[in-house]
Amino acid sequence: MHAGASPSRGLAAGVAIVISLNACGAPPPDAASLLKQSSQRMLGLNGFHFQMQISGFTGPDEPVQSAQGDAHPPALHARVNLKEGGILLEVEVIFAAGNIYLKSFTGGWQQLTPDQVAQFFDARTLFDPQLGLFAAMRDTSAAARGNAEKVNGHDTYPIAGQVSGARMHQLLALIRDQGSYRATYWVETQGSNLWRARLTGNLFDAAKPATITFDFSNHDHPVSTTPPPLG
């Protein structure tokens, strides 16, 4: 004899479905919303530490190889490694009170004009609210979220998409403003902190690939810069 589904069994199945739905939690926001949230979060911080590393092809007009420092846009204090004639040289830059300061191989601080700093690495635009990386996050097209990954011990969602060449050229003038480039952002699952961003493509030469990787840490630790003593 075939017994029909009893009311108690149906109730149990219903409870199980409710419990399992609750256990799974609300589904994460879509990739575009996550990028917007993270962009807002990063622009609202009191400061952060960053490391930027360029790998792949860089020509003689792109001397910058890496940079690391602290920023609270537009304030920034960083050590920058430049490639000069096959060797690496470290310089220190400060952006404070609307001015640019440089400390080179020898000697103390000197003030630079915007034209001079643009010749090697104008870091002011990197994190600019309108032109920089966090603004580019909002303009990333075809964004898709991957499975959660750990970055520096934090749970993040990798979100990959495309950013136009013109947009990338705005955040770093050394980048070619043609075509589009692949961008991947690792956004923390809780709190939307951006922990890593990677920009890939033929960034500095039409036929040779390069990658720029940004790693972020010390989110929201206060950063401020003051003009250093000259000389």
Binding site: I87, L89, T106, G107, Q119
Partner: protein, 508 residues
């Protein structure tokens, strides 16, 4: 202390082959002792460290020395307890693993870790192979074999910078200095494996002074940290100097206190009451510091101001290294002939000091003038003289220390000699690195580079700036070489005042 014994099984195998294989391992490790001095700049570049942050290269050198020093005093006892070949095998694996870490390092931290492990693995091979040689040959026949093993190690360390320079300048690049160690170590292990696995060696309880070794290593590590000028533009010593130096002194104090009480000390500290022992130990350390300064700064000078590549820089240093074995051979002969340790040791250190004084006069044209119409240049002669002087003191200083410790502590005395030389290298180099960079930053504090756009005649101004920087680098090197010369003069004085004459030969 190494205790010789005669394991019956090992005596049955071809001892020449066994010693040849282990000697090859020792040679491999000794090649790597100073191999990095001609590869420092490309190594730094590959871990993204700029050429104007040379202080970050210091741990690549001091890390190896520290690893070597940490394991060395224990290695003899460990080889007693576990067997020479087993210790040899374990340490060769450690050395190869350190080489792998160094070759694949994406960061300075891994590079330094790799070098520390290389040092620890390589450092233990010396006593292990010496003890194996002592096991394989009876007392009467042992001396030439031990001499050959020691010579192999010395030749390896002399050739190391040249080896490193040639590989670095080749299309292979610096990483192959370390990659090559891995198949070479694997091949040696494969050849030795039947003997290692058979475990035919006799093992005997050894009294290992773990606490003594720990205290000495902690003291040396703290001292190295205290002297490491991570920000030489601000300070010639480390940021934690204020607490690290006293902590190091406390560790050394506890070490001496412990060594006086323990029944099996690493070194009999009561020997320091003997002026000949103390004098030879300190002289040995000063000579080690002098050698290290030459090893590091001659290739860097060649690179930075003479614009030489790694192989040319290595060849320049090789002239100095060539003088060392010549001096070492003659030093032993002369000390015996003149029956004076103090005269030959003091003469060697004096010649080395004069050599460094000559080097301290170098400028951009110093590499070209020829020596009395010969194919050698004046610079060649100065380098050879410096190396010759550093070699001349080795035999008399070593013999004076070994005479001071007596028959029963000769093994520990021999280890102590190597340890003191390495301590001199470590401390001397750390001091010189910090103070010289601090002085360079002080001298160039107001030398601001011209920038294109601000100066209408930028090219001329930049050329003048480059000349001024080169002069500042020369001034820095002059200071380093003069300070080393002063230290060697003090060493010469110490040797002349403290070393005892040769004892009368006693026939048994």
């Amino acid at each position: 202390m190494i205790t010789p014994f005669r394991p019956p099984r090992l005596r049955s195998v071809n001892r020449t082959v066994l010693l040849g294989l282990t000697g090859a391992g020792l040679f491999l490790a000794s090649l790597d002792a100073y191999v990095v001095v001609t590869a420092l700049l490309p190594m730094l570049k590959s871990v993204n460290i700029a050429v104007n942050r040379p202080e970050q290269a210091t741990p690549i050198i001091t890390g190896f020395l520290l690893g070597y020093l940490a394991i060395m005093p224990m290695a003899g006892g460990l080889s007693d307890r576990f067997g020479r070949l087993r210790l040899f095998a374990v340490c060769l694996v450690l050395f190869a693993f350190g080489s792998l870490l160094t070759a694949t390092a994406p960061s300075l931290a891994q590079l330094v870790t790799g070098r520390v492990l290389q040092g620890a693995g390589g450092g233990a091979l010396v006593p292990a192979v010496l003890a194996l040689a002592a096991d394989l040959y009876p007392a009467g026949d042992r001396s030439p074999v031990l001499g050959a093993v020691s010579a192999l190690q010395e030749i390896g360390s002399v050739l190391g910078p040249l080896w490193g320079g040639l590989i670095t300048a080749s299309s292979f690049g610096w990483t192959w200095i370390f990659w090559i160690n891995i198949p070479a170590a694997a091949l040696l292990l494969w050849a030795l494996w039947p003997e290692v696995r058979a475990g035919g060696e006799e093992r005997r309880p050894a009294n290992l002074d773990w606490l003594g070794a720990l205290l000495a290593t902690a003291g040396l590590s703290l001292l190295t940290l205290a002297l490491y000028a991570a920000t030489p533009e601000q300070s010639p010593v480390g940021d934690g100097f204020i607490w690290q130096l006293p902590a190091a002194i406390v560790c050394f104090g506890l070490f001496v206190w412990h060594e006086r009480r323990t029944p099996h000390p690493l070194i009999n500290v009561r020997r320091f009451r003997d002026s000949s022992f103390t004098g030879s130990a300190l002289t040995n350390a000063i000579a080690g510091a002098g050698l290290m300064v030459a090893l590091v700064y001659i290739p860097v000078l060649a690179n930075a101001v003479f614009s030489m590549n790694a192989s040319s820089a290595a060849l320049l240093l090789f002239r100095l290294m060539l003088g060392i074995p010549v001096g070492a051979l003659l030093g032993g002969f002369l000390a015996q002939r003149l029956r004076s340790y103090r005269f030959v040791a003091a003469l060697g250190l004096l010649l080395a000091a004069v050599g460094f004084l000559m080097l301290s006069g170098w400028n951009e044209g110093s590499l070209t003038p020829h020596l009395l119409g010969s194919p050698l240049t004046v610079a060649d002669g100065e380098l050879l003289l410096t190396g010759f002087g550093l070699g001349l003191e080795i035999a008399p200083v070593s013999a004076a220390l070994l005479d001071a410790v007596g028959e029963t502590e000769r093994g520990a005395g021999a280890s102590f000699l190597i340890v003191m030389r390495l301590v001199g290298m470590l401390v001397g180099f750390s001091l010189v690195a910090g103070f010289s960079l601090w002085e360079f930053h002080r001298a160039t504090a107001h030398l601001i580079p011209p920038l294109p756009g601000l100066n209408p005649n930028f090219a001329t101004q930049y050329a003048i700036y480059v000349l001024k920087v080169k002069q500042a680098i020369f001034d820095e090197y002059h200071l380093i070489f003069r300070a080393t010369a002063v230290a060697l003069f003090i060493g010469a004085l110490l040797a002349a005042l403290t070393l005892r004459p040769l004892p009368r030969p006693r026939w048994r």
